[in-house]
């Protein structure tokens, strides 16, 4: 009994910290509509900053505490709102979510950069060594502090939301932002306040939990999972229920920790499940939550470009990819190819996100986990049979559907939460699981060490060599890319886009939305499984630590930065993560790529279509009308390749000149195109090249009127066309109403 009470108290302390973290998360989500994935990362940075002040610089604890919590944290919160989140209003939920993930990656990378993870940072609890006895249980002062703080947070939030004017406006803006504005609330100020308080709570949780965990970037950042598991029990809205959720989590965690050593039969299995208790609680909560109402998406003039790829364009793209791969394969050394081989596996994992996120508007944060499952399947089937890949696709597709099922009934955000939880669950537990036996069959995921992932052999043809496997990868990538194009052009793709635009409308037209989401999620998981099989073949040997959650997030970030519905984005993601360019050029800055990816993603709010659709495609589209330029470019590149093969130039020259050529061709082509238009116009009167789209209100100012503009205006303003003779200038006289 004494023990039971002991574990209970320590569970309460854990619960208190979860509650502090989760309440901050819920507060920002309900008042601003942004689900902050970086909540844990912010707490982590706060914990490290506190450590640096307290132990690095030797400041007294109260000073460090006050500076961190009451000065830096609210300042950072306000900065986040003003600098980033204010500009995200009116963007899709996926964009908002991805920006917070970017922030999380950026902070994670930066913290690893500033505070080297290899250094040991001994930390001390508050009031080290002091204990107090309550009903026979020895509690440290630190634990008492944590409990008191949580209580203060609960009371404080309650007072803020129900007793102050600004708090009442906060609750009002949850229900309807514009309505709250009409009633005199100032949403800008409310949002700032809620970010300031949210960040303070994250920082508080980070600083309080750091001494009891170890001070590590990884585990503190992943505090977010524990926090949102508690928040989901409060349905991401209710603060009291969130506290209840935290209580359930904290007690479950500490009782499990306390009693697991008593189980003698299968202790090792339970031991490995303990870190995943929040994830397990989360999935149970998701199953219990009632079905969400289908809501329409408010029709906004989205800035989203949904371009339909043509078959010819896609085939041309594939030809360029395969040719480029052949060129690279012939010029680089085998040592470099060891790394480069990974490109196509990663690119296919990126590609798997296109139908899911780009077309269907759903999100998955565990594609890399599916890839690892694909690798495991291929390794277990063994041999070199291509059937192993089929199994990889089938099994990952099945697992994907199973994972998604509980969340599919709910709003999109829950799918993100449960997939992230699944990824962490696999990292922490499944991929570390010891061998077990069911029905006489022995399961051993990683065969107590590393798995060998074989490369397929088709019709007796192997792809064992570096060059062969690299080119093989490009071909597989192209096949997958064409499958994506087929989906986009076919009935399924149209349904997905329709579902993204209005789930309410498609369901009243007879589409089973849950099943459609399930189908696209499974398809996407299966593609990721194939990507994993290819990636695994490139790595050859895979162990449970080969990949982690953050690497998977980086793939999503890169895809979104480049443009989530472009095939090119997948190539970009593959190159960025697979080719060791950054590591080679800046060997001392290991964290550079994470930081870069994070901060590039934060800029996403301004450019939700990604840079390929926004910047590159318009430039290259012009070139299609100047075939001579394209032929010239290809010819020059082939000539350069010839020079390289003849050892006239080296790899650096070849790479720099090729990239330079590709960069200057669109502007040059653009100029040539303009010239030709001008010449054509010179013959037939003055026609000025005008930008493709002139905003309607600027017509007549930045570009001259044309008859079709007037027709378009009539349509947009819903006017009847004017009689012919009145089109140029309105005539005088009395105009009666039509």
């Amino acid at each position: 009994m004494r023990e039971f009470i002991n574990f209970g108290f320590s569970g309460l302390t854990t619960a208190a910290i979860y509650a502090i973290a989760a309440s901050g998360l819920v507060l920002t989500y309900t008042t601003t509509g942004v689900f902050n994935f970086a909540h844990g990362a912010i707490g982590m940075v706060a914990a490290f900053t506190y450590w640096e002040m307290r132990f690095g610089w030797g400041w007294p604890a109260p000073v460090a505490f006050v500076v961190c919590l009451l000065v830096l944290a609210p300042l950072f919160g306000v900065l986040l709102e003003v600098g980033i989140f204010k500009r995200l209003e009116g963007t899709s939920d996926v964009t908002k979510l991805v920006v917070t993930i970017a922030l999380m990656l950026g902070l994670f990378g930066a913290a690893n950069w500033i505070w080297s993870p290899s250094k040991d940072r001994p930390s001390r609890t508050f009031y080290q060594g002091h204990v107090v006895k309550i009903i026979g249980v020895r509690l440290s002062y630190h634990e008492v502090t944590v409990l008191v703080v949580a209580l203060l947070v609960a009371v404080g939030l309650r007072m803020l939301l129900y007793r102050t004017r600004v708090g009442v406006s906060m609750r009002a803006s949850v229900d309807d932002r514009s309505l709250a504005t009409l009633n005199g609330a100032r949403p800008a100020r409310i949002a700032m306040l809620s970010w300031a308080v949210g960040v303070m709570l994250a920082a508080l949780a980070g600083i309080l939990i750091a001494p009891t965990l170890q001070l590590s970037q990884y585990s503190l950042t992943l505090l977010i999972i524990d926090a949102y598991a508690a928040a989901v029990i409060g349905r991401l809205r209710s603060l009291p229920m969130t506290f209840v959720g935290a209580l359930i989590l904290g007690l479950a965690n500490d009782y499990a920790l306390g009693y697991v050593s008593r189980i003698h039969t299968a202790e090792q299995y339970f031991q490995i499940l303990i870190p995943s208790i929040p994830v397990i609680v989360l999935f149970i909560a998701l199953l219990i939550l009632p079905q969400a109402r289908l809501r329409g998406v408010r029709l906004q003039r989205t800035r989203e470009i949904a371009r339909m790829p043509t078959w010819w364009g896609s085939l041309f793209f594939c030809a360029v990819v395969v040719m480029g791969t052949v060129v690279v394969a012939t010029v680089v050394s085998d040592a470099d190819l060891v790394n480069l081989q990974r490109i196509w596996g990663i690119a296919i994992i990126g590609l798997s996100l296109i139908p899911l996120v780009g077309f269907g508007g759903q999100i998955s944060l565990c594609q890399l986990t599916f890839a690892v499952i694909g690798m495991i399947v291929v390794a277990h089937v063994g041999g070199h049979t291509p059937l192993a890949w089929l199994w990889a696709a089938l099994i990952t597709g099945f697992v994907g559907g199973l994972i998604a099922l509980p969340a599919l009934r709910l709003q999109g955000i829950y799918l993100a939460l449960s997939t992230a939880a699944f990824a962490v669950f696999c990292d922490r537990s499944i991929f570390q699981f010891p061998a077990f036996t069911i029905f006489g069959h022995r399961f051993d995921l990683f065969q107590a060490g590393s798995l060998t992932v074989n490369r397929p052999r088709l019709f007796g043809l192997g792809v064992e060599g570096f060059k062969a496997y690299f080119i093989f990868g490009a071909v597989v990538f192209c096949i997958m890319a064409l499958i994506v194009v087929a989906i986009r052009r076919g009935r399924f793709g149209h349904r997905l886009l329709a579902m993204k635009d209005s789930p309410a409308a498609v369901s009243t037209l007879g589409l089973n939305v849950t099943f459609t989401k399930f189908a696209v999620f499974s398809t996407s998981a299966a593609m990721a499984g194939i990507g994993g099989a290819l990636y695994g073949g490139a790595l050859h040997a895979v162990d449970g630590m080969a990949v982690d959650f953050f690497a998977g997030l980086a793939i999503i970030m890169l895809m979104v930065i480049a443009g989530i519905d472009s095939l090119g984005a997948a190539v970009f993601a593959g190159f960025f993560l697979g080719a060791p360019v950054l590591q080679n050029v800046f060997p001392s800055l290991k964290q550079l790529s994470t930081v870069l990816v994070g901060f590039a993603g934060i800029g996403l709010g301004m450019n939700p279509n990604g840079f390929i659709a926004n910047n590159m495609r318009p430039q290259w589209d012009v070139l299609l009308e100047e075939p001579a330029v394209i032929v010239g470019l290809i010819g020059t590149l082939l000539a350069l390749w010839g020079l390289r093969l003849g050892h006239v130039i080296n790899n650096w020259t070849f790479a720099i000149v090729s990239i330079g050529l590709a960069a200057v061709t669109p502007p040059i082509g653009g100029v040539i195109h303009q010239r030709r238009l001008a010449r054509a116009a010179g013959a037939g009167g003055e026609v000025k090249e005008r930008p493709a789209t002139v905003p309607l209100e600027w017509l007549g100012i930045t570009a001259p009127y044309r008859p079709e503009d007037i027709a378009k205006m009539d349509r947009v303003l819903d006017l009847k066309p004017l009689p012919e003779e009145r089109v140029p200038v309105a005539q005088g006289g009395s105009d009666g109403p039509p």
């Binding site: 029709l299 949904a306 329709a498 209005s502 409308a505 009243t508 037209l509 939305v513 349509r715 819903d718």
Partner: protein
């Protein structure tokens, strides 16, 4: 027995009663009007009928089959279609694709004689949108957007068609054309339920009108009766108005 029957439908949002014990019918081949001031619960009632909202109490039957617990897509497959007051277009698709998606979804159960592309082309022509068939749907003005929604719902070959303020945003001539279209649809045997604020249109096309106020059914009857009912006038215009004002 009417094709669509609502019995004692009640919807509560927390303490608010949005729809209070409403019973009404829609007969095949007739146009049934549903009118009432803003906030009377008309759209909520549509949501209950199409399955987007669960009623707190009450029953919805379609052709004698109790569909109260069916999800939206199963109702659609039994012949229920609707348009939305706040447009729910597939904005990234073209007008043609909007209708084709609906035709493609319905192809499995609606016994359409044409292929989805043919059906889409015919319906776009029927609602008069051929000129903008290949424009992106979110580039259209509201009035035309409503016609896209109409064509889209017709593509599922419905037996019951619920229209939520289809004429708002349309010009006078478009509305006249629209009235003819509604009559033609009813003549085909469809049960049309119309929520509309344009009283001229409602009075001109409806065979039967239900008036909702504060969530409950105020009056139900043919247009002539509703037009002169004092309770309706009071609800719509304030109690001091006379019958001849409408």
């Amino acid at each position: 027995m009417a094709l669509l029957e609502l019995t004692g439908v009640t919807v509560r949002f927390g303490g608010l009663i949005a729809v209070d014990d409403v019973s009404l019918n829609a007969e095949a081949g007739l146009i049934t009007g549903l009118i009432g001031p803003n906030g009377a619960g008309k759209t909520t009632l549509f949501n209950v009928v199409t399955g987007l909202e669960k009623p707190t109490r009450g029953r919805v039957t379609l052709d004698g089959e109790d569909i109260t617990s069916y999800p939206p897509y199963r109702r659609a497959r039994r012949g229920m279609a609707r348009t939305f007051q706040r447009l729910e277009l597939f904005g990234t698709l073209t007008v043609r694709e909007n209708v084709e998606v609906a035709a493609g979804i319905a192809v499995r159960w609606a016994d359409a004689k044409e292929s989805p592309p043919d059906l889409a082309a015919r319906l776009i022509d029927r609602v008069g949108l051929s000129a903008v068939a290949d424009e992106r749907a979110d580039a259209l003005p509201t009035g035309q957007g409503r016609l896209v929604e109409l064509a889209r719902s017709l593509a599922t070959n419905p037996r019951v068609l619920l229209l939520d303020e289809p004429a708002s945003g349309q010009s006078t001539s478009e509305t006249e054309h629209f009235a003819d279209l509604l009559r033609a649809l009813a003549a085909d045997g469809m049960a049309v339920v119309l929520v509309e604020h344009d009283m001229n249109l409602v009075m001109a096309v409806c065979d039967f009108i239900n008036v909702l106020d504060f969530g409950s059914l105020l009056v139900a009857g043919p247009p002539e009766q509703v037009r002169s009912d004092p309770a309706v006038l009071a609800a719509y215009l304030g109690s001091e108005w006379q019958a001849d004002a409408v």
